[in-house]
Structure formats: structure tokens, C-alpha cells
Symmetry: C6
Subunit: 276 residues, 6 copies
């Protein structure tokens, strides 16, 4: 689980080792085409399906530094663009992560941008059309983006509500790449690689997850993620009973409802019948 990457001040990370990413379709080709035209890209898909991994892989492949900003309800445009700090007697300007990326030609990744405050979407608009500049109101300048700058956002369609959704005028400024959970064979390979688990038990995990994901319509807010399967595999790998691993890594985090939990456990018991 350790990774080779050089940390730089400023949040720009240059990934030195290839992050493992298993392509499902032509997502690499589409991303490269968008990159060649510097079109902004939106990664659409559910939690834990590999969007962040994919982008880290592309940044490594393009040898561009990557800046990731996890967006939340209190994130404002100043958090992205920068602000004045007081140092001794002086007021000193400090670039935010987006400004750094714009200046230095990095890939800037705004993860779950819909969570951020609305002024952030306004700030990114001029970066996503023919202007490609970033207005920095507090400095009174408009910064033209470095030719290698690229903007990427992520978006989870399952979460949006009437109150919280990207405006159509924002979405249409991005090339959209759809993501989902990988097919069974691929997911098995990922688990083996990530956890060192034997192939048989990895297959059983994926097969059970397939059945469990069918329970979505029965009240689960979201289906079992690949990440949860990797957690279960890790616990098994450290010697914990398979069924107990599934219970604590998959079932407990997914539901508080005793009946739904029992329904999920039923599935895992079928695939891991041995006791311990």
C-alpha cells in the first residue's frame, strides 16, 4: 500500500512510479484526445470505483504534476485561488492549489466539485472555455493558463439532489467520462494484486459482491465498492476469519438495518461456508 511519489511543497505531486490502473474501456484514449485539445474532463461514477486511481495513472503517463482538491460545503473560491496572509508587517499573497496548477501547467483535480460553494464553479468557468484564464479578483488580474494546464472534476450521479447539482451550463463545459465497478474478472485481478489474497477467495469475494449489489433496490444507499472488497481481502490476509472479515469490512459499514445486514450475511455465508 506504500507508493513512490515525490512530495513537493504546494500540493503539486509528480508521480514517479506507475499507479496501478486496470482499464475497462477506452477511457485512456478519450482522456488522451481531450488532453491533446486541453478540453476539461468530468469523471462520472459511484464511490470507490477507481476514478482517483485513473487520474493518478493519467498524470503519471503524461508526466504532469497533479493537484487534488477534495471539495466540501465550506470550500470557497479563495481556497482554490489564494488569499492574502499577514506575515509580520506585510500582507503576502499565497497562491491556492488551482492557481498553482494554472501557473505551472499541472492537472488540477477537483474531487466532488458539486459539494463546494457555488463561487468555485464560477471561478472555473473562464478556465473551461476559449478564454482559458483564471480571474484573480483580489490581485486584480486575469491569469492565462499555462499551455499544459488541464482541469478535471469528478461527479457522483447517485448523490445529486435538486438542491445540490452541477448546473447544466457547468456540465456542458466538460468532456464526460463514465465509470462503473469493473467486471468480475477484472475486479478479481485487482483484489489479488492489492491484497495478495489467493485467487479462489478473491473470486468468491467478487461473486458474493455481485449478488450483494443486486440488493441495492432493497434499501441500500450504495452498493458494495471495490474498495470494501479490498478491505475484506486485507483482513483475511492478516488471518481474520473470512466471514468475519466480510461482516466488518462490507456489511457493517453498509447498513444499520438488522434485516438488510442479515440478508447480506446470508450471501457471504453461501460463498464462505467454512467456520473460521
Amino acid at each position: 500500500m506504500s507508493e513512490g511519489k515525490s512530495g513537493q511543497p504546494g500540493g503539486l505531486r509528480l508521480l514517479l512510479e506507475e499507479p496501478f490502473y486496470q482499464p475497462v474501456g477506452n477511457e485512456l484514449g478519450v482522456f488522451m484526445a481531450a488532453w491533446s485539445k486541453r478540453l476539461p474532463v468530468m469523471l462520472k461514477g459511484p464511490t470507490g470505483c477507481g476514478k482517483t486511481r485513473f487520474l493518478e495513472h493519467m498524470a503519471w503517463r503524461l508526466k504532469r504534476p497533479l493537484v487534488t482538491v477534495a471539495c466540501h460545503e465550506d470550500l470557497t473560491s479563495s481556497d482554490l485561488v489564494g488569499r492574502y496572509l499577514i506575515e509580520g508587517d506585510e500582507t503576502v499573497w499565497q497562491d491556492g492549489p488551482l492557481t498553482k496548477a494554472v501557473r505551472e501547467g499541472a492537472i488540477c483535480y477537483l474531487d466532488e466539485v458539486v459539494e463546494a460553494r457555488t463561487d468555485t464553479t464560477v471561478v472555473i468557468h473562464p478556465l473551461t472555455d476559449h478564454r482559458r484564464h483564471l480571474p484573480i479578483e483580489k490581485l486584480g488580474i486575469e491569469l492565462t493558463a499555462h499551455p499544459d494546464f488541464m482541469l478535471v472534476i469528478s461527479y457522483n450521479p447517485g448523490y445529486q439532489t435538486v438542491l445540490k447539482d452541477l448546473k447544466p451550463s457547468t456540465k456542458q463545459r466538460f468532456v464526460g467520462l463514465n465509470f462503473g465497478y469493473p467486471p468480475a474478472e477484472l475486479e478479481t485481478r485487482i483484489i489479488v494484486r492489492e491484497t495478495g489474497l489467493d485467487e479462489a477467495r478473491a473470486q468468491a469475494l467478487v461473486a458474493a459482491a455481485g449478488k450483494a449489489r443486486n440488493l441495492k433496490d432493497q434499501g441500500l444507499q450504495e452498493v458494495t465498492s471495490t474498495r470494501a472488497l479490498v478491505y475484506a481481502g486485507n483482513l483475511m490476509g492478516s488471518g481474520l476469519n473470512a466471514l468475519e472479515s466480510c461482516e466488518v469490512a462490507i456489511v457493517n459499514p453498509q447498513t444499520d438495518d438488522p434485516e438488510l445486514a442479515e440478508a447480506l450475511m446470508e450471501i457471504f455465508r453461501a460463498f464462505f461456508p467454512e467456520k473460521g
Copy 2:
């Protein structure tokens, strides 16, 4: 996609090269008449139909500097007018973008002004009637506008709600110019010019968009913009399969609904039947 413009501190941009703009009706004549009387102008229309381009074109034509402010929920009158900053021991006043435009006779463009906080609309009122002055409460002065100052706002009628709309008393202070997506022939010409795509595929894109726009009543929040067509053209130009280009540039950003997405893909498949 690069542009010739000289960046000046303060957000005033003087456009040195002609920004491409393809007129649809008499919008240039109306704008010139409003300009000759210095009447404030409101650009009405949907996303990505060329309002910003039009204004950049007019600013270039009139040889007036342009100040653009993208409005958002947290934008206050102080962001427009200016504020005191602390520099060392002193408090220094810094003009905001609107004040700069008022002083120096620029065109000030408040993009989607309805998003801004209500105090901003109050600040612009005295600039839009016979007084043509800007009250700067914090300095205790009322600034009379430079004779060449002009105020322009944009407004997207499709977005307004009961909670968020310009007051009638504000709208009636502006000359209103209506914008829409360009007719097919014009839109084709724009795509060819912007992407370098061959005329045949550009025509197919526009024809498909025409059909796709008819789906608006079936649940699309907004129809395909000219900008999305340009994105698709760009991806094709960089070698991506036409259908895949339409999917990622047009369909994915426009809807999360699998059935609507399929309905849109049907249309594009009809116009781009070849595989690859």
C-alpha cells in the same frame, strides 16, 4: 484557441485582435444605438450561445477595455466596488472591478448578475438611470461615471426561480438583447472555424444537435450547446471515433439518466453510422 489580448493589471482587458463573432440578427446595430446613448444592456439567453463572445467582439469594435465579473452567490457589492486592505501600518483603498470601469470608461460585464448577492443590484441602480453615478459608501463619495463607461449584464431566462430572479425594477433599467443558438448553416460555419473539422462532419453534428434539442421536453435540463458541438468536433479532430466523441462531449455531460442517454445516442448513431 489562443487569443491576442494585452493583459493589464486591474482586470481591464483591451482586446487587440478581433474576436470571431458571427452575427445572427441586428444585435450589432442595437448595441451600437444603446452605446451611443450609454444605455445599460442586458444580454438574455441560454448557456454557451455566444453572449460572452459577442461582448468581447463589441468591446474590440468600440476599442474600449472590458472588465468581466463572473457573479456568484457570495459576490457582494464590496467585491465590485472595492475595499480597504491593510498594508503594513496603513489601510489602503483598492478599487474593485466596477469602480475601475467607472473611473476609466471601460465596459463592465456582470456575467449572470442574478447569482450575486442582492446588494450588488442596489449598487448598480444609480449607474443605470439619469444619475450615472456609483455610490462608494466606504469612501463616502459618489463617483460620476466616465463618459465612456457602459454597463452590461447577462441573464439566463431558463434558470430563474421564484427565489432567484432579477427584480422587475432592475430589469426595466436595461435594454434587453435576446440570444439563442445560431441557425444550422451558421452553427456549421462556427464549428468548422473553431475546430478545423471537415464541413460534412460539422453539418452532421449540427443536424444531429437539431434533433437532440427536440428532446428538451423529455427531461433534459438544457439543450446541447454550440460549445458542446465544438468539443465533439475537437475530439474528432484529434482522431477519436465520431460516435465516442459525441458520447463523451455531448451525451455524458448532459444527462445521468440511462434512457435519455440512450435516446440521445440513437440520434448520433443515425448521423454517424460508421464504427470508428
Copy 3:
């Protein structure tokens, strides 16, 4: 559209040239009577019907300086009364516009006061009864008003809602002057004077506006203002086609509804049948 007035620091304006105002009823007599007793006055009426002009005219007539404060949702009592500013090592008190008017005997005009935060109405209460003083809590003093101080507010009855209305206890502290759009002959004279348009077209504009105002019950939020007619006249005067002038100056700003817009255009076509 230029005006003769001497700008003074502090927002006090002494109007040196007579602002044009065409009386409709006995509003001058009532205002003079209220002034002779220094009773506070409330100007009631719709947007763009001349309330601001009337008050500028009265201030000129009384030779009293005028302070105008456009109220909005974020305007607090501190914006009216004053606040401490930090200058170098010192904290310096700065009078707000209301305090200046109270000290120097000006007319203070709070435009659309209902929009301001509720603490502002509290601040003006002691100025509107027998006390005629202004409490300045931050200075710990109560300022007795200059004998020539007068308070005037405006109020648009069409806008009030349950959530946002002046309290009856506030309204009853003012003498109320009702305003409306001027009768046809008067409105024609205003347009001729303000735009230099020929009498015939000015009459046609006013007659058309009369018909258009009847559409109010069909969904228009507010009827055509005198100001919008002046805009249309100005555009005609700068050579724009009459019908196009009405469309952009009157119809487009007033409605986003295509059918209502067409209904309005029908009216203007009847009065301006020529094409161009």
C-alpha cells in the same frame, strides 16, 4: 443626461440646477407642509415613476443637501450610522450617511428601506418621533438632529410580502405620499424633454404603453415604466427602428415568456406599423 450638481465628500449633494420634475397632484404642497413641521415622509409607488426625481427636485427647491442611500439586504445600521476604521495605530470614527445628514441638516433619503436589515428601522425610529435624536451606540451618545434634518423613505407596495414588509409601527411614523405613472399628456411631455424625440412618436409610445399596462393582470410582474419609454425614445433618437427600439427597451426586459412578449409586440406594431 448630464446634470449640474456639486459633489461633496460625504455623500451630501447640493443640487445647483433645477432637476426637471413635472407635478401630478399636490405632492409639492404636502411635502412643504411636512417639511415645515419636519415630519418624516414616505414616498409610495412603483418602480421608475419619478420618486427619486421628485425628491431631488424638493431638495433643490429647499436648498438642502441630499443624501441618498440605496438599501439592500445586507445594509446594516452601521452602514447608516458609522463605524470605527483603523488608520495606522489609531481607530478613527467615520460618520455614516445618516449621521452626516443628522449633524448637518440634510435631507436623508433611504431608498427602498424595507430591503435593509431590521436594525436600520430601529435606528430611524427615534428620529421619527418627538425625540428627533439618533442613538449612536458605538460612540455611546444620542445625537439631537439639526433643525433642518428631514428623513424620507421610499416604499414600493407591489413588492411587499409577508416576510418582507415595513412594520405598521414604522409606517405610522411617516407622512405617506402616493405616486403613480403620470397621465398620458404629462408622460408625453417628459419623453419629449428627456429624449428630444418628436411629439408624434412620443405620443405613440405613451399610447402604446397605456395599452401594454393593461396586460398586467396577464402575468407581467410590473407594468412598463416611464423610464423604459425614455429608453425606447432614446434608441429611436439614435436612429434605431421604432419597433426594434420598443422590443429591446420595453418588451425584452419585461418578460421572458414568448407569448406575453408577442402580445406586447402586437401592441407596439399597431402604433408603429412602418418597418424601419
Copy 4:
């Protein structure tokens, strides 16, 4: 309308001349009894019925300085108690109006206290029971009240809503004095005294107001106040037509509804039939 009072820094006013107050019942006796035990008092009643006058009269009679705080939605306990100010290099504590009254033995009048933020009611609780102290959290002290300190609040029962009402536990900490509009003869005497109007017209005003007050159930938010009658009398006194005076001083401020306004005018026409 001028008054003899000496302004003191700190908002403490010592009234040197007797403020005119016409008692209706035994309110003077009750107040004196509450004062002799230093019990806190709540003045209950509608707008403009003389609560403020009554208290000024009592302060004059008791020769105690009076501090009046008009409460509003943004008034916090710090506004009452005090705060730190920065002066040059130092942070200096400044007493608020309540603290001054507590220290110096003044009468502190919190006008419409229900409008203030809830932390203010908490601050006054320990002043209204056997403790009679004021906690000043920022100074870390509890100030025992001067023996002559007295707390008075006002409260308008007609305005309270479920969302905005004094808590029963707060109300029960006060002796409650009910106020209403004075009986006809008394109200006539007040108008004559305040405006110098002849008795006949004053009687007509009061009689008309009596009828107008009966319209309350037909949609008026609040009935005609004594203050509005004084305004109308003042306008008549300055030469304005009686009916016009009633219209602008009483009818216009009280309603925006044309039918209610006409109903009110009917009443005044009956009492002032002459034209001019």
C-alpha cells in the same frame, strides 16, 4: 417639538423639563410601587400609545437618568453589555448602555426587547431576580447593580408570533403594565397640546379615529395611533387641507389596499366635509 434635556456622554439622559404625560389609570402608582421594591417592569401595548413618553415622565419624576435601547434582530448581548475596542496598541473595554445603567443607577429601557437576539434575554435574567447582578463574561466579573438601577422593557402583544415571543420564564420576571390608546377626551387634549390645533378639529380627528379603529377586523394590521393623529393635526396647522392631511398622515401609511383606503377616507370625509 423641542425638548429640554441635557445630553450626557454614554447615552444616559437626565430629563430636566417635565415630559408631558397624561395618565389614563393608576400607572403612576404601580410604577412607583415597583420602583420602591426595584422590581423590573414590562410596558405592554400597541405602537404609538405613549409607552416611551410615560417612561420619560417617570424618569423625570424620579430624577433618575434614562438609557433607552431600541432592540432589533441583530442586537446582541455585547451591544448591551460592552465590548473590547482596539485603541492604538491597546485593547480597551467599553461599557455598553446596560452596564452603564447598572453601574450608575439609571433606568434602562429595552424597547421591544423581543426583537433582540436571545442572548440578551439571558443577560437580563440575573438582573431581574434576587441576585440583581449583571454577568460580564468578557471581563470575567459579575457586577452587582447600583441600588437605584431599574430595568424596564416594552412589549407589543399584537406583534408576537410563535417564532418570536418572550419566553414565559422571562415575562414572569416582570411587573406588567398594560397600555392602550387614551379615551377620546384625553386624546383630544393631547392633540391640542401637541399641535396647537383648535379643539373642534381635534375632536373631529379623535372621533374619526374612533370609527377608523373599528375597521381593524377588516384587514388593517394595526389601528390608527395617537401619533398619526398628531401628524395630521400638525399638517392642518401648517395650512394643509384637513382631508388631505388625514389622507397622507393617517390613511396612506396605514394601508396599500385601495378599498381599505377608500373606506378610511369615507370616514374622514364624514368628519371633514369642507373642501380645503
Copy 5:
């Protein structure tokens, strides 16, 4: 009504004279048992029934200093724990009242804690379980409580709503002592002692209150408190008519409804039939 207590800076009060408290049940025994184990205590009961007095009595009895914090909607954990103040060039930490009590072993009384912001309940949690420490995030320390520190809160069950209630997980951290109004004989004794009124009239007051309290189900938000009876007794003692005393001290503060007021007055008239 004066009291012997030594004021100390910091809000810690050491009560030197015994505060009068008349026990109703075994509340002293329970409190002593909780104190011996340093268990936190919650005083439950309506307004004005003597909770604050009881705690002052216990603090005097235990010879521990007492810190009282009246909680309100804007009270934050910083108000309890402390904050940094700027003094000249330095930032100086100032302990809040809770921190002082924790350090010095005082009894800290959070009056109506449910009114405070939710972060306050979080701050007190670790003080109410086996940890008995106070986390001071801004100093980065966890303060272990002085062995004599004790936490007491009050809680009025009649006021709680779905939106504003202590969480069950908070309530279960306290030993709960229920309070109510005292039985008739006791309440009579309290009134005699507090007001010096003769026993007969005190008995009449209590008897009338008993009847008045039965009206609770007819629309009174809260029943007559012992405090209101003491007020009425005080007014009688200062020579005011008994019935008028009851009206202004008990009826007026309790209801704005004329019919309820009349119903209450009926009761008091029955017990105080004499006129004056």
C-alpha cells in the same frame, strides 16, 4: 433582597452568608451523595421554582465557589472554555468560566444548557464520564479536573421541542433531580420571609395561585411561579392595592389574552374581595 457574597474576579463566587432555601424532599441528600462521587447533576423543573437558589445553598453548604453561566443560542464552547485575546503585541489566553471551575475546583452551573450551541454539550461530555477532563483544543491540551470540580446543569422539561432538546446520550450522563413548585404551606412561608407580608395575605396569594395553576390546560404557557407571588407580595407591601398587585405582577405578565386574563382576575377577586 441584598445578599452577603464576596465578588471575585473570574466569575467565581464564594457565598459567605447562607442563601435561604426551604427543602421540599430529599434533594439535599441526593446532591450530597452525587457530590461525594463527583457525579454531574441535572436540576429539572419549571421557571422560578428555586433551582438557582438550591444550588447557591449547596455551594454555600459545601463551601465551594460557584460559577454560573446563563446559556443562550449564541453561547459557544469558546465562551465556556476560553479564547485568545490580543493585548498590545501579544496574544494572551483567557480561561472561560468552565475552565476556571475545572482548574480551581468550583461548582460550574450551566443554566438552561439546552439553549447553548451544540458544541458546548460536546465539551462537557468528557467532564461527565470516567475521564473527567476538559479538552482545550486551542491550547492543544486536555485538562484533568480538580478533585473538587462538579458540573451542574438545569433543564426545563416544559420548554423542550423536537428541534431543541438535550440528546439522550447527554442526559444519561447526569444524576437528575426533579423540582416543582413547593406545597402550599412551604410557599406561604417563603412569601412571608421574602416580602415581609402578613401570613393571611400570603396564604390568600398561595391559595389563589393554586386555583390559577389549574388553568394551565386552558392556554397558559406556564403556571404562576413562586417568584410572581413574591412580586405581588412585594407590591402589596409597598402599599399597592392587593388586586392591582396581583393583576400587574401575576396576570399581565402571564397572558395577552383578555379572556384568560379575566379568568385569572376572577380567581384573585375571590381571594381579595376588598377594593383597595
Copy 6:
């Protein structure tokens, strides 16, 4: 109730004596397995069932320092990560508790994390996946976690509402350990150990609690916690009557409803029939 632990500045506590914890199932084994893979852990369960104790026990067992943050509605990511403080002329960065734990390899416990503001969940996301880093936006760095850093959160399923719940994408990032109240025999042993009460009365307490917990469906928000039983045992140990101990430690804090309280008392009377 005293404990052996060394307080360190910075909120890191190294527990030197074994905190008593009575395992119910395999929670120690699961936690050790998660620890060996450094997987983040979520402790799920009702109030007062021993989650905090369990974690203190594990921290002692693993010999890792523990940082506890009690989350609340106003807790922001800055409270966790750190902020700039002004010291004299300098702005100095101060690590928050999470940052300290990340740097020094402590266990960081976010108690009731769902109460905190949403930006906190965003901050912990990158610490819970393969990245294991903490973005510190204000410093412009991403801190890679110390190899011994571990993140633990608690979560009470009974409290969650539609408005306030952890997002599924957050929950799935944790291994979930379910907690409940211990079985009778165990709970008895805990009470004996914590209070020194004799076994018979401890058994009676637990048996009565078992019956009382069955009343949950009759309107109790939450059932009797083990902590409340310990409180009751403590009061008995200090000589208070058993029934009175149960009333004040268990019944009063649990309900304001007289009928529910009586129903609970019925149960305790059955188990503690003796009077005193």
C-alpha cells in the same frame, strides 16, 4: 475513578495503566487485524456502551498515543488540521489534533464524527484510502501519514436522520465494529468493579435494567446505559437509598413523561422492594 495516564501537550495521551475493558466478542481480534493493515475503523453503537473505553484499551495494548476529538456541529476541518495563530508580529502555524496524530503515528479518534461539519469528512478521505495522506491546504502540502497512524471514528446508528448521516462513500472507507450493551453477567461484573457495590445489588440493577430496556418501544428515546447503572451503583455505595438512587440516576435523566417515569419506577421497585 482516577486513572494513570501521562498528559502530554498536544492532546496526545499515552495510557500507562491498563484501562479496564471487558470484551464481549472478537472485537479485539478484528481491531488487531485492521491495525495490522492500518485500515480505518468505525465503532458503531449506542451511547454509554463502552466504545471509548474499548479504544483506550486498544491504544494501551498497542502502546500508541491516543488523540480524542469530540465532534460537534461547529467543528471544522481547521479544528482538526490546524490554523495560523498570530503571536506578536508573527503568524505561526499550529498543528491540529489530527495533524499531530498523522505526524507522530498516534491513533486519532473522531467521536461522533457525523456531528462535525462536512468539510471534516472530506479531510479524512485521503487518509482512508491507498493514499494515506492529509492535505493541509493552508500550508500547501500533503502530509504522508506516519506508518503507525490509525484513524478511528464512532457512529451511533440510533441518532442518524436524513439530514445528518455519514455518506455511504464515507462509511465504506471504514472497517465497521458493532457494539451493544454487554450481556447481564458481564454488565454485573462491570458494575461491581466500577462501583464496589455488592454482587447482589449489582445483579438486581442489571436485571431491572434488562426489563427497563424493554420499554424502549413505549417512547423512550434510548435505553438505560451501562453508565447510568454505574451512576446508580455509585449513589448506593455512598449510602443513598437504592430506589432513590435508581430514580435520580436512571429514571429522571431518561424521561420527562410522568407515566413513563412511573412505569420505570415500577420495575425498580420490584427489584428493590425495601424502603431505604
